[in-house]
Amino acid sequence: MRRHRVVRATIVIVVAAAAILSIGAAFGRQSGPPPRQVAVRAASGPAASADPIVRAQERLRLVPRDWRTWAGLAVAYLERGRTTADPSYYPKADEAVRRSLALRPDDNADASVARGALANARHDFAAARRDALAATRLNAYGANAYAVLADAETQLGRPADATAAVQRLLDLRPGLSAYARGSYDLEQRGALAAATDLMRRALDAAMSPSDIAFCRGQLGDLAWLAGDLSGAAEQYAAGLGADPHAVSLLRGRARVAAASGRLDAAIADYADVTRRSPTVGYLLEYARLLRTAGRTREAAEQLALANDAQRLFVANGGVDGLTAAELAIEAGRPSDAVAAARAEWARRRHADVADILGWALHLAARDGEALRYARLAGARGALSATYAYHVGMIELSLGQRRAARADLERALRRNPAFSPIDAPAARRALAGLGGAR
């Protein structure tokens, strides 16, 4: 009797244990869903935000085959890379574009746009143009495709096509993105007032701090172009209020400080700029500023650094003849500068390239050819004091004194402090020509 009970109890226990264990094994068999996110979010997840990156990421966790959102995520990463100057977002953007295209290789205008934007960021403007055009063929009403196209056409130096693309963008989707590009297009044609007006409109449409900072920065640059130092300073300050980390605004502020004779403040800002974002361009500007301040040893250091940064950029597959030419000019190697600028000119015919090519030719003592390019830079009407200064100096070198005087005066009229080195040089040259009238 008792034994029977014991046996029964044992059986019950054994069966129960077996049941629990086999259930466990069964659970083991059907492997659970893949981890959606790091388990760390269990107890206290950070608040999701209106951040477009986070939103796209969350949506893709829910709808992983959404190729359109993959493309959107790529654009969002690119935007973040642009506003933070943090290049680690670019490989992520690249990956997101690949995912979108893997899911939908054809008829994927969104991915074409994103890939085009990525190409623009990589300065591969020809590829960007191809992608943008492909996107417009797939979706003639897609505003972003025209934005990418406008950027590419602008940098490639095809002003008529660029303007047409911007106009199409404005007709499809007036807004920050269109206004900003419209403003730049107007600026390149010398319509500073209209450009400023449109950029103010962009500022009104801007919602995020980084967009506000961008618009303020552009308004500051426009004021700078017009020689309005205090107006520029105001805009930079307001922009830095919205986004204290905007490197381009810091750089703008430093430029104003240098132009106002506050070299120490300018150097401090540039030190900060080049620490945050040690691009070749900024390093080069920093080197020039140090040279102006008479700190030649530090200037040489920064120039060497800029050289290494450029080598690194090239070693990593980057192509940028414009910067290479500027570096060569700064280092006193005019023939290298000419070669680099010519190569860039073969790739794209932007006004900036014409200007640098002209100046490099001048330094290489080939003034005849130089003048042609230097004049080309300003041909569309861009009101750049630097362009005018370069033309004037080349003319002077060619003995065209009257034209030189006119162009140098024009440069100083536009912005009397356009460069801590070149503006005084322009004044000296003018004095040599008998002074301003």
């Binding site: 094994a25 083991g28 659970g32 269990a42």
Partner: protein, 485 residues
């Protein structure tokens, strides 16, 4: 479908972790990034920080030599109000070939700061902010583990996802890490569970204070958490996990706390019969499972809940229930005594069904099981008290499983855990009963005989048991209150 997704994800993970093929050595986070990792280990008497600064080519070119002193100076950490003063225990700066014949560099520092040790149970805040190279872009990662302390509400991971800046994950659905500051609390003298729910699936290096047994339990804890979060569950792994959960539950119940004394005393008082033991076992399991699930759900849904406080409150409730049961036993016993005369039994009288011949035989008792002290209510109460305070490690397992989308598996493990706990507790009760019987059966032995006589002469043996139960309950509650304050 799920399996396929898993494979896809696996391939994706593999893909992104494959080192770059081309161009040689390009820094994955861009050639001007300064990437930082801070791994904190908090001990009762010190905080150590493993700091790694991985600088890409340009920052290295901008400044070749950097020192741990700067890193330490920029690492602002406090425990309570006291700012930590870091001492550098190890420093290593190495250079590695990068692109364009420019080197990248890697600075490794071990920093240590002594903190004033406080007594067991003290909850202390740890706040840290890293200001090194603040304006510069780069990966910013922090981790924290406790060693001899338990981390509470830690927002930090316990393991570096980048293998301390050696392999940056490139999941396109995750933004680069940017953790530059953190705030958490830690409790001295806790066991290995680095803040319930945070540690799942990680191999936190926390080691518990306490004896070899505690250490063994802690290591089993981690093994289980790893199993529950294992990348792929095979039947063998599932089986192993359930067994381990059972063993862990049993082991945890053997550690101090859990009102085992009260439970055992109670079981002994009731004669430790099989049926009741099963009921007790079931109650403890059910309460514990329910409690863990409820607390787990609260912790998952609401960030506002501090798990620590919740557990403390549950501890108080548990203690109170035990006290109440003890009081009930006492009252019942007294009443029983006053009634006893009418029934012709004296309080101290031995039970009519003697155990003297066979310690296993209790069959004749089943008819009157509701009439013993506390009755069913007491039984439930004591079971409730035993299972009410969810074991943190069970919570870790559950939350870890939930985080990995294996809720049902997690629940199963928690049930197994509860069964294990209940088994130990019930076994403890049986053991006590066994000792009693052993004592009674040795009637001929003079010592036992005398003891039996002594015990029998104690008119308040029942009272003593009830009092013991109450004292233990009060102790439990007080401990919980101490943890709360």
């Amino acid at each position: 479908m799920r399996r396929r997704l898993l494979v896809v994800l696996g391939a994706a993970v593999l893909g992104v972790l494959v080192p770059p093929a081309h161009p040689a050595h390009a820094h994955p986070l861009g050639n001007f990034s300064i990437n930082q990792y801070h791994g904190f280990t908090i001990r009762p008497d010190a905080v150590t920080a493993t700091v790694v600064v991985d600088r890409a080519e340009i920052p290295t070119r901008q400044r070749r030599i950097i020192r741990c002193v700067e890193v330490a100076a920029a690492l602002d950490a406090t425990v309570e109000r006291g700012r930590l003063r870091w001492t550098i225990e190890a420093e290593d700066l190495t250079f590695h070939p990068g692109a364009a014949e420019l080197p990248t560099s890697r600075l490794s520092c071990t920093l240590r700061a002594v903190i004033r040790p406080l007594g067991t149970g003290a909850v202390r805040p740890f706040v840290v902010a890293n200001g090194y190279a603040a304006g510069q872009v780069g990966w910013h990662e922090m981790t924290a583990v406790g060693d001899g302390v338990r981390l509470i509400d830690s927002p930090l991971a316990t393991r570096s996802v980048s293998d301390e800046l050696r392999a940056y994950p490139a999941d396109p659905l995750a933004s680069p890490l940017d953790v530059r500051a953190a705030s958490l609390r830690f409790k001295t003298g806790g066991s290995a569970d680095a803040a319930a729910g945070q540690a799942a699936g990680t191999n936190g290096r926390a080691a518990p204070a306490g004896g070899a047994f505690g250490r063994l339990i802690a290591s089993a804890d981690r093994r289980l958490a790893d199993l529950a979060g294992a990348g792929r569950l095979t039947p063998a792994v599932g089986l192993l996990a359930v067994l381990l959960a059972f063993a862990l539950g049993a082991g945890h119940a053997a550690l101090p706390g859990h009102g085992k004394t009260a439970l055992a005393a109670y079981a002994a008082a009731r004669g430790g019969r099989r049926r009741e033991s099963v009921a007790l076992l079931a109650t403890v399991t059910a309460t514990h499972t329910g409690g863990v699930l409820a607390v787990g759900a609260l912790l998952t849904t609401s960030a506002a809940f501090a798990g620590e406080r919740l557990l403390a409150w549950l501890g108080i409730v548990s203690g109170a229930v035990v006290v109440a049961v003890g009081a009930g036993m006492l009252a019942a016993f007294r009443r029983g005594r006053s009634h006893s005369h009418g029934h012709g039994h004296s309080p101290g009288h031995s039970h009519p069904h003697s155990h003297s011949h066979d310690g296993h035989s209790h069959d004749g008792h089943s008819h009157d099981h509701d009439h013993r002290p506390g009755g069913r209510l007491g039984l439930f109460g004591i079971g409730l008290a035993g299972g009410l305070v969810p074991s943190p490690s069970a919570l870790v397992v559950l939350l870890g499983a939930v985080g990995l989308g294996r809720t049902a598996f997690g629940v199963l493990l928690v049930i197994a855990y509860g069964v294990g706990m209940a088994a130990t507790l019930t076994a403890a009760g049986f053991a006590l009963v066994g000792i009693q019987r052993w004592a009674t059966s040795r009637a001929t032995h003079w010592r036992a005989d005398r003891m039996r006589r002594v015990l029998r002469r104690l008119p308040s043996a029942g009272t003593a048991t009830a009092s013991l139960v109450m004292v233990v309950g009060a102790g439990l509650a007080l401990r919980a209150i101490a943890a709360l304050s």
